[in-house]
């Protein structure tokens, strides 16, 4: 007998922080998934808010295409502030 579909669980540990992926669980519907997530992932007040998302609804980049997919960012160090030279003595820049 099936355990219900798979859900990915995201927990916001406290106000001001984003939800972070903590793991997954089985549940027949979203409401049960939330309840199960509370029991499974927040037994010690680890969160103030939970998201549950059907695992099938997540679209992921493929590890095989790692290089070409992320390559566009590889040759653009000028996107970082450390790329630029600032003369000695210039402040607040």
């Amino acid at each position: 007998m099936s355990q219900g579909q798979l859900w990915e669980v995201f927990v916001r540990s406290r106000r001001g922080l984003s939800h972070t992926h903590v793991g997954s669980l089985h549940a027949p519907d979203a409401e049960m998934a939330l309840r199960n997530a509370r029991d499974l992932y927040t037994r010690r007040q680890e969160g103030v808010s939970i998201w549950v998302v059907p695992s099938t609804a997540v679209t992921a980049s493929s590890p095989d295409e790692k290089d070409p997919f992320f390559a566009p960012a590889g040759d653009k160090p000028y996107r970082h502030p450390t790329f630029y030279e600032v003369p000695e003595g210039v402040r607040n820049l």
Partner: protein
């Protein structure tokens, strides 16, 4: 781009040269990931043997967590105080949680939850032998927390650095929770040890019965350990069985002294040369017997597990019927 949980392609066995070359490339990436001490993640290519080893190990680990609920749950209704009862319930609930984290980790490798439970119920996959021993008195709950959870922690801490990401992450969460398990056991044993002579004797008796099975939890001696070398190379395992066992003995001896209890091994003594405690020979025949199903509680544990699963069938059925009725937009 594909759904995140889609079972990753198994290594292709097609004989044509193109695929072989592609496989060699993928294997090189896998080896490089290990060499750099980086984590392998679910959708990465991995050798079939690595995947199978992890599924077997994580499943056995998950089964141990949920079967491990039974010996202690046996005492929830008879805990000596409300405080001890609340603590024990929280611990047993944690063990259920540990099982669920681990089943999820196994699923990222393409195993299904139903299939894993089925293998447990039909005896095709194992759980730790330690849970085939009975909990005869309340002191056993303390001895389990101190020794069994203590041994589990020593085994599990290095697994937080295991090469497979989801397993390592589950272990980080588990290890955080385990430390209370061991402490509550120690505290409970200390209370008994410092109590009436009868209570002290009960604590000593529990430690006498759980000491040797706890040493067996680290697995067979290195010389007889079949999977160790490959698991080390894959960085699933980081230390040998005997190394971890020695660490456990060294930690326990002073703790037993603090408890005012003795460990049931006349050969236990400090070896200055080695910088470790020497300990007596472990009865590996007993270990093999329990592994083969002939321990005191093997039958009882599995029967209880199967019955719990069967008794929960109507709940699972009702929940999926409800979900089906309320349509996919809510699911």
């Amino acid at each position: 781009m594909t759904a995140v949980r889609e079972t990753p392609p198994a290594s292709r066995s097609a004989p044509d040269a193109g695929h072989e070359a592609a496989d060699a490339g993928l294997e090189a990436v896998f080896e490089a990931t290990l060499a750099a001490d980086e984590r392998v993640e679910p959708r990465d290519w991995m050798p079939d043997g690595y995947r199978a080893t992890l599924i077997r190990q994580i499943a056995q680990h998950a089964h141990s967590e949920i079967i491990g609920m039974q010996p202690e749950a046996n005492w929830i209704t008879r805990a000596p105080s409300l405080r001890r009862k609340a603590i024990l319930m929280a611990k047993v609930q944690d063990e259920a949680g540990h099982g669920l984290y681990l089943y999820s980790a196994a699923e990222t490798l393409g195993a299904s939850r139903d299939e894993l439970l089925d293998k447990l119920h039909s005896g095709r996959q194992r759980y730790s032998s330690i849970f085939n021993y009975p909990t005869l008195t309340w002191a056993d709950v303390g001895a389990i927390g101190w020794l069994v959870d203590g041994a589990a922690i020593i085994n599990q801490v290095p697994l937080c650095r295991c090469s497979y990401g989801p397993y390592a992450r589950a272990m980080v969460r588990i290890c955080k929770e385990e430390s209370f398990h061991q402490r509550q056991g120690f505290e409970s044993l200390l209370a008994l040890s410092q109590g009436t002579p009868e209570q002290h004797a009960m604590a000593q008796d529990a430690v006498d019965r759980w000491w040797w099975p706890s040493l067996m939890m680290f697995g067979p001696p290195d010389a007889d350990s079949t999977h160790s070398a490959q698991s080390m190379a894959w960085k699933i395992k980081r230390h040998s069985n005997d190394e971890l066992r020695q660490r456990f003995v060294d930690i326990c001896v002073p703790q037993a002294e603090a408890l005012g209890l003795t460990l049931p091994d006349p050969e236990l003594r400090w070896n200055d040369e080695r910088g470790h405690y020497d300990y007596g020979a472990i009865d590996w025949d007993e270990f093999q017997q329990v592994l083969r199903g002939n321990g005191p509680c093997n039958e009882q544990r599995l029967t209880r597990r199967r019955r719990a699963h069967d008794n929960g069938a109507w709940v699972r059925e009702a929940a999926s019927a409800y979900a089906a009725k309320h349509g996919p937009e809510e699911r």
